[in-house]
Amino acid sequence: MAHISIRGLTKGFDAQRAVRGLDLEIHDKEFVTLLGPSGCGKTTTLRLLAGLAAPDSGEIAIDGRVVSSRRGVLAPERRRMGMVFQSYALWPHMSVFENVAFGLTLKRMAAREVRERAERALAMVGLDALGDRTPAALSGGQQQRVALARSLVTEPTILLLDEPLSNLDAKLRERMRVELKDLQRRTGITFVYVTHDQAEAMALSDRIAVMNEGRLQQFASPLAIYERPANRFIADFMGAANLLAGVVEEEPPVVGAPGVVRVDPAIRLEALLPVGATKDKTVTVMIRPEDIAITRDTPDRDRNVLSGIVVSSSFLGNLVDYSVETARFVLRVQAARGTTFERAERVYLSVVPQRCIGIDPEGVVA
């Protein structure tokens, strides 16, 4: 069992590394990612979880036992957590094997058992042949695996990972992603993962906690965060988005149906509205570039259709990215390969109401 409760956690000597009133419930065996731009407080939160820093207020409890509060902090060595550092923090004066075995030797375990368990951990990350090397003699990806083996060898119930893939090249990063996810499923360890890379967060997590300026913005599944971002910041941070400011003109007739938003005196969009968005309230309409259909002919629908001119296009391999200038805005559109549109060509853009997401510009959904 490893259930983490973070309540009202606050830490901040300077504004950069502040965490302000963070509440988070992380379930046993869950893979949770703390996601946000640099300085959002995600790494500070991880260090607070590890016991490497003390909170100014609030508390952290593991399975109901308070391990960090303003009154005291359980020392990191007594928390039985594992941690993978961004720099890997492999000890340069020890061999790969000694690095992995270190945590076990501290437990006064029999030498034979230490050897067996360290070798098993190295085998798990596919490095059983490299135990005698020094860390400096390994590639970045191998070092990353040693760090992983070292943090898993003591069989922690919670593993903390601080941007563990950020020092790897793109190909390796993708492979390690798959391996990490697989490892988490196999071991059933609760993972708390910190990254600034939204693609990584979406690929790995059961749930993502998006943070900005020390505050939690949204805590939900990757899909929910991508499709229904709680505010403008998240919409912008999680992938590409067209964001159009507007005013609610018609409330939805029934709950869950689209309402109408005026994004321009002359342009009205049918869009899903955020909870509590009444008439005349300001909302931002988010449209993902891949949700917009681009055609030469007039589409056979009368709402949510705009016409415009292609001003630029770039071929991205799996799709084509267009900028289309309409009467009022420039919209980003992504379409599959196939029909190609030339610069200066007149096109029609359309989008179904379910993909026009009205969001509260300042909203927070925790």
Partner: protein
């Protein structure tokens, strides 16, 4: 999603947290606290007494001594002599150091590495040993050179090393290494394209040197001259060995005189010390500001090495001139001392009948003062280096690994002894410990404290570099893996930082082994050191035994220096290992 289900049990659990973290913090706090307390006792406490002493305390509060420090003719004379010495050494340092620096850094001069190493050797030799060597070389009547001149029919010993000029010369032969190394470093980092573009615009080599290169490195040259001048004021050794016999008195020797009489005039000594400290500190801050503000030298990471100028026909003649300068400051004094050490009579040439080992027997066994000095010096240097590096490690650790308030202040306090000449430090310690509850005054412990205090800047800088080399995440990873603070220090920090800490240890050990300027005021019968034995025996004219002692000291210093070079090379290797991970 907010669950309050665990709050009920939280209160009980927090109790454990508090108890365990307090117990663990106690080990850490105690370890670091003891080190900091020792540091404050060794450096801060004596400094307070120095200031109190200068205004007549504890006897009576009066500004009398401070006034007298400037009005007494003897004191004024010492002040003037010291100022003249500083100016002379500063100028001479530039004249000797800068041309050699340019030649080794930027020309195809032969034997460049030899020159470079010999300048280093000149700086390593304790300057009082150079003084002894020059007494043998240039002493009136008996000195090698004067006898050579006499044999040519000119009598009356035209060269007398026991003079203001002699003191200035011998000190310059030691400290010209400072402008040399600073200029050398600056010349090496000049961006060659700055010079090349001047050549492209039609400047001849000499014009380029005068209008581009020289202005670029001018801050290093003036900074070096200033440092050399500041250094010269504090060098008790040559001032005493060469100045006192001719009754030429400088501030340190004047302080020595004020404390040598009965009763010792502490107030006078303190007031003069304050003057010396003020001049030193002002000089250091001017030098720092000057170097900081006017550093045009571009340390480009583009790997462009400045081109070497071809000296052409001047190559060997210039090398010969420079060899005379550099050898006179290093090899020559060394050779003279070693030759005298193996001579029955130092004034005779080193022929087979004049050869003997008896001077070494005297120095190491028969002569009580010398033999005691050797033992005391080794004990003191080893203990001082160990203690200083331990304290330095604690201060560096606090600075780099804690959020403790005042840790910056500690770091700053630790470099204060840089502005304290040995003589001044001794005056401060004498007054601080003469009425200290624990008997330290008049024991070997006061010497230990003096050595530790003097070496704090080096020890703290060295330990700081050693700790900085270990990324904090390496220690954090160990904590998360289950290691306690103490285990983390022992198994992670220490093994990685060890070689750099050893380097800091040696950098304290080497100067401590030959320390004279503080020792001379603090030793008593029984706590003599090598330096004191050399001072006293040369006063008695036993130059052969002095030479033997000097030889022993030099051999140990050279071996230790080689070890530091080796460690520094090895240390760099582990640093790159650690950062590549």
């Amino acid at each position: 999603m907010r669950a309050a289900a665990h709050v009920g049990r939280a209160g009980i659990a927090t109790g454990d947290v508090e108890a365990s973290s307090v117990a663990r913090d106690a080990i850490r706090a105690a370890t670091l606290g003891v080190a900091v307390a020792a540091f404050l006792l060794f450096v801060g406490y004596p400094l307070c007494w120095l200031v109190l002493g200068a205004v007549g305390l504890p006897a009576e509060f009066s500004p009398h001594s401070l006034v007298r420090a400037f009005t007494r003719p003897e004191n004024l004379g010492a002040l003037v002599n010291t100022a003249l010495l500083a100016v002379g050494v500063g100028l001479l340092g530039v004249v000797l150091g800068v041309p050699v620096a340019w030649a080794t850094a930027r020309t195809d001069l032969p034997l460049r590495n030899v020159f470079h190493a010999l300048v280093g050797l000149a700086y390593i030799l304790p300057p009082y040993l150079t003084s002894v060597a020059y007494i043998i070389l240039l002493g009136p009547n008996a000195g090698y050179l004067n006898r050579a001149i006499a044999s040519m029919g000119i009598h009356g010993s035209p060269i007398d090393i026991f003079s203001a000029a002699g003191v200035t010369f011998v000190i310059a032969m030691h400290v010209y290494a400072i402008p040399y190394f600073l200029t050398y470093g600056a010349l090496q980092s000049v961006d060659p394209s700055l010079e090349e573009s001047a050549r492209m615009l039609g400047a001849r080599r000499w014009t380029m040197l005068r209008r581009i290169t020289l202005p670029l490195v001018a801050p290093a040259i003036t900074g070096g001259a200033l440092l050399a001048a500041i250094n010269s004021m504090a060098l008790f050794g040559p001032q005493a060995f060469l100045g006192l016999p001719a009754q030429i008195v400088y501030l340190p020797t004047r302080i020595y005189g004020a404390l040598g009489g009965y009763p010792p005039r502490f107030a006078d000594a303190s007031a003069l010390s304050i003057v010396l400290v003020l001049v030193t500190v002002i000089g250091l801050s001017v030098q720092r500001r000057y170097l900081g503000r006017r550093s045009f030298v571009t340390v480009g990471g583009r790997g462009a090495r400045p081109a070497r100028h071809a000296l052409g026909a001047l190559r060997w003649p210039l090398a010969l001139v420079f060899l005379v300068v550099v050898a006179s400051s290093s090899i020559a004094p060394l050779a003279v001392l070693v030759a005298a050490a193996f001579s029955k009579v130092w004034t005779e040439p080193l022929t087979p009948d004049n050869l003997t080992l008896s001077n070494f027997v005297a120095a190491l066994a028969d002569n009580q003062i010398a033999a005691r000095g050797v033992v005391n010096s080794f004990e003191l240097a080893i203990a001082a280096a160990t203690l200083a590096v331990t304290i330095g490690l604690a201060i560096a650790y606090l600075d780099l690994r804690s959020q403790l308030r005042g840790r910056r202040l500690l770091d700053y306090l630790a470099i204060l002894p840089l502005g304290l000449p040995g003589t001044v430090l001794a005056v401060a310690l004498l007054q601080a410990f003469v009425r200290f509850p624990v008997p330290i005054y008049g024991t070997i412990w006061i010497l230990l404290i003096a050595y530790v205090a003097r070496s704090m800047p080096i020890a703290v800088r060295g330990a700081n570099a050693a700790v900085r080399q270990v990324d904090v995440s390496l220690e954090e990873a160990a904590r998360v893996a289950g290691a306690s603070w103490l285990t983390t220090i022992r198994r992670i920090l220490w093994p990685i930082a060890r070689s750099n800490l050893m380097l800091a240890w040696l950098l304290v050990f080497i100067p401590a082994l030959g320390e004279l300027s503080a020792t001379i005021l603090l030793y008593t019968n029984g706590t003599e050191t090598i330096s004191v034995a050399i001072f006293r025996l040369s006063d008695l004219g036993q130059l052969e035994v002095v030479a033997a002692l000097s030889t022993v000291l030099i051999v140990v210093i050279l071996l230790a220096t080689l070890l530091t070079q080796w460690l520094a090379a090895g240390g760099q290797r582990t640093t790159s290992d650690a950062t590549s991970i």
